[in-house]
Homo-oligomer: 210 residues x 2
DNA sequence: AATGCAATATACCCGATAGTAGATTTTTTG
DNA sequence: CAAAAAATCTACTATCGGGTATATTGCATT
């Protein structure tokens, strides 16, 4: 048996698929490093030099994987928004009354907003992006809003959700559950799941005694 | 009667007090122009040249009234925060059950967040300010948070507010009522007062049917 | 072995803008 | 009216950071 090499996948020689995968992994590492710095120090206070240095590479390497700073930010918020979109679809696919599906969505929504990419969605003002990127950003946020509105309407239709003004209810719920992007501290007393659950409870029953 | 002039206060000659007042008025005009541009285009996307031009003056004029850009922003958020502080004190001074005082505060709080300086408070990340200014900013925000918490606790004490977790209730309410800083449009269908009232209603009773 | 592409680096350019120096005009006051 | 003070301007400096031109290294495919 002459040919078969002893090394299975620690060979330094990669297949085309492996190369593509490591490239993708590097791209994602750039985005993760970037989003963390954006969240911590702010977009403008984070130079791509900073991001590069934090990864032990130089700035042109980032440009090798992503076109420019605007694209880096757009990618980051797009990841966060697709997580929210996934949550919406999962809620949509659930059985149960409208209120249950709504609560399911709201919990996930809150949880995403406590994670790196979700936080970035909330903290990123449209002004930070180029006009074209901002348009795509708005579009995707709009889809999330619509999904939330639809869940509310379904709840109203089956009598499990009570409100005078679905639009305003949507804004109110979203606002309450966006805010953890600013205050939640994962090293604090609550887990993401627990914090999300309790917030949704509060929103569901209100603060007046029943 | 030789002396008494016919012009009462349209004389171009001002008293010391009047001069001080016009100076203050100019300072405030700068802050108002600045905060509007900050809210619209973002802090970093607004140069002091832009602000100056919008007032028909040149940049050094701004420096004549305010020390530097950091101070301009700090002044803006300080105005917003003092409006919130006023709301807290007014609520504190009210008669009635805890829940009524809390609702009073929350409505004002929401209204402030739909106005120029309040919006700026919400939209300003601490990273935009110098470390020293950021510390003062945090301090003042902290005071508002504490006031909200205190009102909640009073409601709990007299049985008019129901919650398992006052801290989280505070965050949830604040988040919901901060969010209008991002979405509220004064040219839209609702007045500030009406929007605030409805949001507080939603938060008070929740979205589950009673 | 030779050619080519992917990955990465160094060193640079350039535009924007915060902040300043110094002159100038206007107003107040002695 | 003269001198001082306040208000404002023009023109400049300095810095930062996004983005690029170009060189280098090394694996990969034929």
């Amino acid at each position: 048996m002459t040919g078969t090499p002893a090394q299975k996948d620690k060979s330094p020689f990669q297949t085309a698929a492996q190369r593509k995968a490591t490239r993708e992994a590097k791209r994602e590492a750039v985005l993760l490093a970037a989003v963390r710095m954006f969240n911590e120090r702010g977009f403008h206070a984070t130079s791509l030099d900073d991001v590069a240095t934090s990864l032990g590479v130089s700035k042109p390497t980032i440009y090798h994987y992503l076109g420019n700073k605007d694209q880096v930010l757009l990618e980051c918020v797009s990841i966060g928004l697709s997580q929210l979109q996934d949550a919406a679809e999962a809620a949509r696919a659930r059985p149960g009354k409208g209120i249950d599906r709504l609560r399911f969505f709201l919990e996930r929504y809150a949880q995403v907003n406590m994670e790196d990419f979700g936080r970035c969605v909330i903290r990123t003002g449209e002004q930070l992006l180029s006009p074209e990127s901002a348009a795509r950003f708005r579009e995707k946020k709009r889809a999330i809003d619509d999904a939330l509105r639809a869940l509310i309407e379904e709840g109203i239709a089956d009598g499990s959700v009570a409100t005078q003004d679905p639009r305003l209810l949507g804004f109110t719920l979203a606002g309450a559950l966006n805010w953890p992007a600013r205050w939640f501290d994962p090293t604090g007393p609550l887990t993401r799941e627990e914090a999300a659950r309790r917030m949704v409870d509060i929103l569901c029953t209100g603060f007046a005694p029943r």
